[in-house]
Symmetry: C2
Subunit: 301 residues, 2 copies
DNA sequence: AGCAACTGTGTAATTATACTACATATCGAC
DNA sequence: GTCGATATGTAGTATAATTACACAGTTGCT
């Protein structure tokens, strides 16, 4: 199609979605960049905030390249131009520097630990938000809405989530249980009946006993909702699987963030179910609000 | 000073810090704006994303005002100009629309509930991050670093946090306990000894029995760290108080978000303590990492 | 090794965009 | 109703982003 050779060697670059963190993008594209463009990239990665408030001329100056090179760099990392690049950079910086850039060091002062963990948590939540399966979520809400009782299952960090979900029973509007011990879990799963819903929470989805629980619950006639990470074998045992993907699954903080993402999923499910019920049972909703407020002021279970 | 009258009636406007969410800013300043500027403000609040990708000319066109008015609007809400405004808008939109703008409606489809809850969670976390008392955090880390044992206390949603913290004991590196029942709490608090640290978690900080626990722990000679919301009476009973402020304290979701903010605080504390120990006990740190990885792959407590 | 083709980078011109100075309209008070 | 003051728009200017083009450095082929 184009027979001009020089400027755009961008024949068929598979640029990922526009929501992608631009710093991540720069980082992954680093290898494909030309020497001069790379100077710009290095500069951006080293001190993004500086570039954010700079013009093309300044950026070119600092990076010791020409102005068009700066623009070419912007295009190379998937932006429309410099303006667009700055906007995306602002977007990314708002969320914080992704964890892949800033690894915690033993020498970090508390201040740095604070920044990095907040950065990581917020970035990951943003990621989880954009990668959440809306379809599955809707189905899960439908199941929970029609449940006669709900049972939550989880171990370790996910056990925390299960218990938290159970505490939201005023929102779900039906009896809720949370089993954290594997024996109790099997027993509870066996006792489930059609109309009941089991919510199985596991980041890896690989724990043997949690898979058993999901299967048992299903055999008992209950519907099974799974909240888990990507590539999870748990999915096979669920009627609906909500994948709460985390930014970087190999990272040491994965359990930390997956836990928080799962909590947000619970918030969404409980709130959505409560809102749905409103149409039919407005009184119930009001009561729930009252309960929540009581919880706020006295904070007693 | 300036005797020109027309353009800048901005004699001495007390503009808040630059980190402030620009949408919040626009909203609070709405009353002070001139009629035409207000048209722009309404437009921005109604469809911020549209403005983000528009030029001054387009914005002026849509709002049916002149181009300088758009710039005047930008200055009026505390920006340097249109460029700066766009950058800040990008920043704010990255975090999501703050909850004050988007209240959940009974008619919201699941998709909307998802967006709003993620928005609210992320915005609030950002808020909490910028309002966190770094000083207090540093002191808390110091106390935990030198603790011989740590005991976590909390009720309801905060009880979840306490238990989560206890599960991070490999990071803290000393025996950790979590008491969720008020009788057990008093007993545990009484049994604390000098060198021990009590972490008392309560969003409102007004629950009677949790205040008693803090006091008892202190009388037993233990140091007390509080994780609580603003205006909390709990602060008086603590050696160090970490205020995890939430965006909007009167909102119905306050317990929801304060819970997550508190979890992030726990993450920061545990990680910082673990990192500190590294200098002296590198082996311990390695072991901790191994433990965490085990946790990841089998997810068993 | 030497020529050719191509990729990479910078210079200079162009265009678009944000911003400023000025003029006119609108509002409110006496 | 007129005057003063504030608010808004028009027209022009400066600046920043973008494009077209030309040169330099690399790589491949005979």
């Amino acid at each position: 199609m184009t027979d001009i050779a020089a400027d755009p060697p961008s024949s068929a670059r598979p640029l990922r979605g526009t929501t992608q963190n631009i710093l991540e993008m720069v980082r992954t594209r680093l290898a494909d960049l030309r020497k001069s463009e790379r100077k710009v990239a290095d500069l951006v990665l080293a001190d993004p905030r500086r570039i954010l408030n700079a013009t093309i001329a300044e950026t070119a100056e600092i990076a010791a390249v020409s102005q068009p090179t700066v623009i070419r760099f912007c295009v190379a990392v998937g932006c429309e131009g410099f303006q667009d690049f700055r906007l995306r950079l602002a977007h990314s910086l708002a969320l914080g520097t992704p964890a892949t850039h800033s690894v915690l060091l033993a020498t970090d002062p508390p201040q740095a630990v604070l920044e990095k963990i907040f950065d990581y948590t917020i970035t990951s939540l943003d990621w989880a938000r954009h990668h959440m399966d809306k379809e599955a979520l809707g189905q899960a809400i439908l199941l929970l809405e029609n449940a006669t009782a709900i049972e939550f299952f989880g171990f370790g960090a996910s056990g925390i989530v299960a218990r938290d979900a159970q505490q939201k029973f005023p929102l779900f509007g039906v009896p809720c249980g949370a089993q954290l011990d594997s024996h109790q879990q099997v027993m509870a799963a066996s006792m489930l009946r059609p109309g009941n819903v089991a919510v199985v929470i596991s980041n890896t989805g690989r724990t043997r006993s949690i898979l058993d629980v999901a299967q048992t619950a299903r055999e008992s006639g209950a519907k099974v909702i799974g909240i888990t990470g990507s590539d999870s074998p748990l999915v096979a045992h669920c009627d609906v699987a909500i994948i709460a993907e985390t930014l970087d699954n190999t990272n040491i903080y994965t359990p930390t963030i997956s836990r928080i993402a799962a909590l947000v999923v619970i918030d969404i499910l409980s709130t959505a179910v409560a809102l749905r019920r409103t149409d039919e049972h407005f009184q119930r909703f009001e009561m729930m609000k009252k309960h929540l407020n009581e919880l706020r002021f006295t904070e007693k279970e």
